[in-house]
Symmetry: C2
Subunit: 119 residues, 2 copies
């Protein structure tokens, strides 16, 4: 049986982050752009939305799929998705950068293979 | 132990879809918007990108998180993410609509709870 897959999807659960930063839309945007650059991704477009009074949703469409973040400052929590395809990307660099910059003291992550074909 | 979680994330793997539709950016956009409406989501913004020669990436930012799709027409495959938070949404309706409209003959899905706090 030959296996191939089309994409890699990191699911990050970031607890005990810097609450103030999680409600700073410009700061979150900078971190996510830096993460895309660190991963060697090519940015197509980006959109960041500040909810009132709390929370940010951000998406970066990259040539190689997408990066997403949703923050809950009131819980010190951020959910991050790093979906990449192709062999030239280094999503683990984006993962490390985001964890470090959000000052997460406690995190979980998993990696899912997307588009797995059994032949 | 009390458990609470902040979001629900459907991961859909759609195989054996209508190849032509998977490369029709307007058709994919219509389906994803219809899915957001079916789920009772509030659309904040949307972005759909046609790659050359094959493939579409689409994202819909909703008040309640996001919907995403990436298509590989050459493989008849689409990867869809439906990330929602709050109790008023019905993401399973979006899931059914997308599977039906893309004419997927073979699919897998899983649901991940995001932001699970143990107390």
């Amino acid at each position: 049986m030959q296996r191939k897959h089309l994409g890699e999807h990191y699911i990050l659960e970031l607890f005990d982050c810097d609450n103030k930063l999680l409600n700073d839309v410009e700061g979150i945007k900078e971190i996510m752009i830096a993460a895309a650059v660190a991963a060697n991704a090519t940015i197509v477009t980006k959109y960041f939305h500040q909810f009132s009074p709390y929370g940010i949703s951000g998406t970066i469409v990259i040539e190689e799929s997408h990066f997403n973040i949703h923050t809950w400052p009131e819980h010190g929590f951020a959910a991050v998705d790093l979906f990449t395809c192709g062999d030239s990307l280094q999503p683990e660099k984006a993962k490390s950068l985001i964890i470090r910059e959000l000052k997460s003291q406690n995190h979980d992550y998993s990696t899912i293979k997307r588009g797995v074909f059994k032949k």
